[in-house]
C-alpha cells in the first residue's frame, strides 16, 4: 500500500530556471495493485517516483508506505519498503562487481549489514536457481562482471534483484525504454511475471499508451505535476489508445501536445 498526498516539488526555486515538477500529485495504491503511469516528457513521472523512493524529498505533501509515514526518510532508509528498477540499465547494478555480488547486495536490501560473509554456497545455489528462471544462461555466469552483460540482461537481473526481498512497492521507471523492441518485450513480460508471482504492489512508468493499457490493473496519467487521469477495471478494459487520448482532452479541455512516443 502506498499513499501519496498532495506532493509538491520545485527544482531550483527562486531562480530563473525555477521548475515546479510536482504540483499536488496524489495517488493511492492499494496492496497488490499494479499501476501503469503515462504522461508526456517532463510531466513529472520520474520526479514522482523519485519522491516515493526518497531519492528526493518533497517540498510539501506526505508519503505513506505500508502505513508508515516516510515523507522525511532518505532513500536508503526506505529501501526496506521500496524496490526499484531504473531506466538506464547501468543505473540499477554495479558493473564493476560480479553478478553474484550484485545479487548479494540486493539480498540484503533494507537489512542491517554486518561483517558476515556476503556470499556462501547456499546463497549461490539460490541465486543460480533464480537466474535460471530468466532463461538467459546467466546461472552459469555468477562470477562474471555485470559490465559484461547486455542492457537487456542487466535489466532482467535488476528485476530479479528487485524481487529478491519482499517490498511494499516496486517502482519501474521506463525500465524498457533503453532496450531494443524485442528485448523490451522480453523484459516487460518478465516484469508481468515477477509482479504476478510475488503479488507485488507496483508502479510502472511507460512512454507507450499501448503498454500502459496492456499491462497492470490501473492506468494513471501525469500532467504538469499532477495526476489528471485515473482509469481501472471495466472502463479501462474497454479502452483503446484513442479513447485514452480523448479522455485526456476532455478532462483537460486541451489537446495533448504532439508526442509520437506517447502514441506508440
Amino acid at each position: 500500500m502506498m499513499r501519496a498526498k498532495g506532493l509538491f516539488k520545485t527544482f531550483n526555486p527562486g531562480t530563473p530556471i525555477e521548475n515546479p515538477a510536482l504540483r499536488g500529485a496524489s495517488l493511492d495504491i492499494p496492496q497488490g495493485q499494479f499501476v501503469t503511469v503515462i504522461g508526456s516528457n517532463g510531466a513529472g513521472k520520474s520526479t514522482f517516483l523519485n519522491a516515493i523512493s526518497g531519492d528526493l524529498i518533497v517540498d510539501q505533501g506526505s508519503i505513506e508506505i505500508a502505513g508508515r509515514d516516510v515523507t522525511r526518510l532518505s532513500a536508503w532508509q526506505r529501501a526496506g519498503l521500496v524496490a526499484r528498477v531504473f531506466q538506464d540499465p547501468m543505473a540499477g547494478t554495479c558493473e564493476g562487481l560480479t553478478i553474484e555480488e550484485n545479487l548479494a547486495i540486493a539480498w540484503q536490501r533494507g537489512n542491517k549489514r554486518g561483517l558476515k560473509g556476503s556470499l556462501n554456497a547456499s546463497l549461490r545455489s539460490q541465486f543460480r536457481d533464480k537466474l535460471a528462471t530468466l532463461n538467459l544462461g546467466l546461472e552459469n555466469r555468477l562470477t562474471d562482471h555485470m559490465g559484461l552483460l547486455s542492457g537487456g540482461q542487466r535489466q532482467a537481473v535488476s528485476l530479479l534483484m528487485a524481487s529478491l526481498k519482499p517490498s511494499q512497492i516496486l517502482l519501474l521507471d521506463e525500465h524498457t525504454a533503453a532496450l531494443d523492441p524485442k528485448t523490451a518485450a522480453f523484459v516487460l513480460e518478465l516484469t508481468d511475471q515477477i509482479v504476478r508471482e510475488n503479488q507485488l504492489t507496483a508502479m510502472m512508468v511507460t512512454h507507450s499508451m499501448r503498454q500502459a493499457l496492456d499491462h497492470g490493473d490501473r492506468t494513471v496519467m501525469l500532467h504538469q505535476g499532477r495526476v489528471v487521469l485515473d482509469v481501472a477495471g471495466e472502463e479501462r478494459a474497454k479502452m483503446d489508445v484513442p479513447d485514452l487520448l480523448a479522455m485526456f482532452e476532455r478532462t483537460r479541455g486541451e489537446a495533448l501536445a504532439d508526442d509520437a512516443l506517447l502514441l506508440g
Binding site: A75, W76, A79, A91, I105, Q108, R113
Partner: protein
C-alpha cells in the same frame, strides 16, 4: 645493488604497501580522490614518534598513530559528505591543516628516535646482527595481515556495501546502504592504514620529520597503478595483492635507478621520477586503447564498423 640496499628497498616497499592499500580503498573502491595521505602519513609518524620518545609502549604508540590517521580520514570524508566540499578540496584542506597539527604534536620539525624501543626492538634483540632482515620480516607479517583483513572485510556484507557505494552510489542507496556512512568508514580505514605506515616508517628510520609526508599520495598511487598493470584483475584479492606488489616493485625500481651511478640520479630526484612514472602509467591505458583501435581499424578495413 648490495643485499643491504635490496633489503632496505624491500623494507620501504612494505611500508608503502600499506599506503598503497589505503590509496586503493579511497581512489579505487570509494572513488574518492583523496590527498589526505600527505598529511596522515606524517601524522601517524608524529604521534607514534612523540609517544615513543615519551617512553610509551611502541605498539600502543603505533596504534595511537593509526587511530589519529583514521580521524584525519574521517575529517576529510565529513567535509565532503556533510559540508559538500569537493572531495579533492576537502582532502587538501585536511592535508594542509595536518602540517600545522603535526608540528604541534612533535613540537619541533623533527623528532629523533635513536636508541628508543620500537616495535622492532624485541625481534632485533633475538638476533642483534640481522636488523636488516628482521625489520622487513616483521613488516611483511603486518602487511600480510592487513591485506588478508581487507580481503575478508570486502567480502563481507558491509565491505560489499562499501564497494557498491563507490561503484554506484544511487544504486547503493536504493538497496538500503547508508552511502555517507560508508564513505566515512572507508576513508577512516584508508587513512588509518596510511598513518600506520607512517608510524612504522619513523620506527625504521630512527625518527620523524615534518616533511616526511611529501609525495606520499603520489607514491601510493604509483604503487596501485603499477600493481594494476602487473596483475590486472577485478577481484578484491587480486587488487590488494597488486597494490602490495606494486609498492615493492616501485621501491625496487627506484633503488635500482638510484644505484645505477651512470644515470646520475640522486635521492632528491625521487619525486620527479615518481611523478613521471605515475604520469606515464596514467596515460598508458588510453595509449593502449588508441593503439588497439588503430590496429583493429587496420585489420578490419574501411567497411567494418563496431557493432556492439
Amino acid at each position: 645493488m648490495s643485499l643491504i640496499a635490496l633489503l632496505g628497498a624491500t623494507e620501504i616497499g612494505l611500508i608503502f604497501a600499506l599506503v598503497a592499500l589505503g590509496v586503493l580503498i579511497s581512489f579505487r573502491i570509494l572513488n574518492f580522490p583523496d590527498l589526505t595521505a600527505d598529511g596522515s602519513f606524517p601524522l601517524g609518524g608524529a604521534v607514534a614518534a612523540t609517544l615513543i620518545a615519551g617512553g610509551h609502549d611502541p605498539w600502543m604508540a603505533t596504534l595511537a598513530g593509526t587511530a589519529a590517521g583514521a580521524l584525519a580520514g574521517l575529517t576529510t570524508a565529513w567535509l565532503n559528505v556533510r559540508l559538500n566540499i569537493l572531495q579533492l578540496l576537502a582532502s587538501i584542506l585536511v592535508m594542509i591543516a595536518l602540517y600545522s597539527i603535526n608540528l604541534r604534536i612533535m613540537g619541533a620539525p623533527n623528532m629523533p628516535l635513536i636508541g628508543a624501543t620500537t616495535v622492532f626492538s624485541p625481534f632485533i634483540a633475538l638476533s642483534p646482527d640481522s636488523q636488516y632482515v628482521i625489520q622487513p620480516m616483521v613488516l611483511a607479517v603486518i602487511v600480510v595481515i592487513a591485506k588478508l583483513a581487507l580481503d575478508a572485510f570486502f567480502a563481507s556484507q558491509s565491505g560489499l556495501a562499501m564497494r557498491a557505494t563507490g561503484a554506484n552510489p544511487r544504486m547503493a542507496r536504493s538497496q538500503g546502504i547508508a552511502t555517507d556512512r560508508m564513505v566515512l568508514i572507508g576513508m577512516a580505514i584508508s587513512n588509518a592504514l596510511i598513518a600506520l605506515a607512517g608510524a612504522l616508517y619513523v620506527q625504521t628510520q630512527g625518527g620523524a620529520d615534518i616533511s616526511m609526508g611529501i609525495g606520499t599520495i603520489v607514491v601510493g598511487l604509483a604503487a596501485v597503478i603499477i600493481g594494476e598493470t602487473l596483475i590486472p584483475g577485478r577481484t578484491i584479492m587480486i587488487a590488494t595483492l597488486a597494490a602490495v606488489l606494486g609498492a615493492l616493485v616501485y621501491r625496487l625500481f627506484i633503488a635500482l635507478a638510484l644505484n645505477a651511478d651512470f644515470i646520475g640520479l640522486q635521492a632528491q630526484d625521487l619525486n620527479l621520477i615518481t611523478a613521471l612514472l605515475v604520469g606515464f602509467a596514467l596515460v598508458l591505458p588510453s595509449l593502449k586503447r588508441k593503439l588497439a583501435a588503430k590496429r583493429s581499424a587496420a585489420s578490419k578495413g574501411s567497411t567494418a564498423h563496431d557493432a556492439r
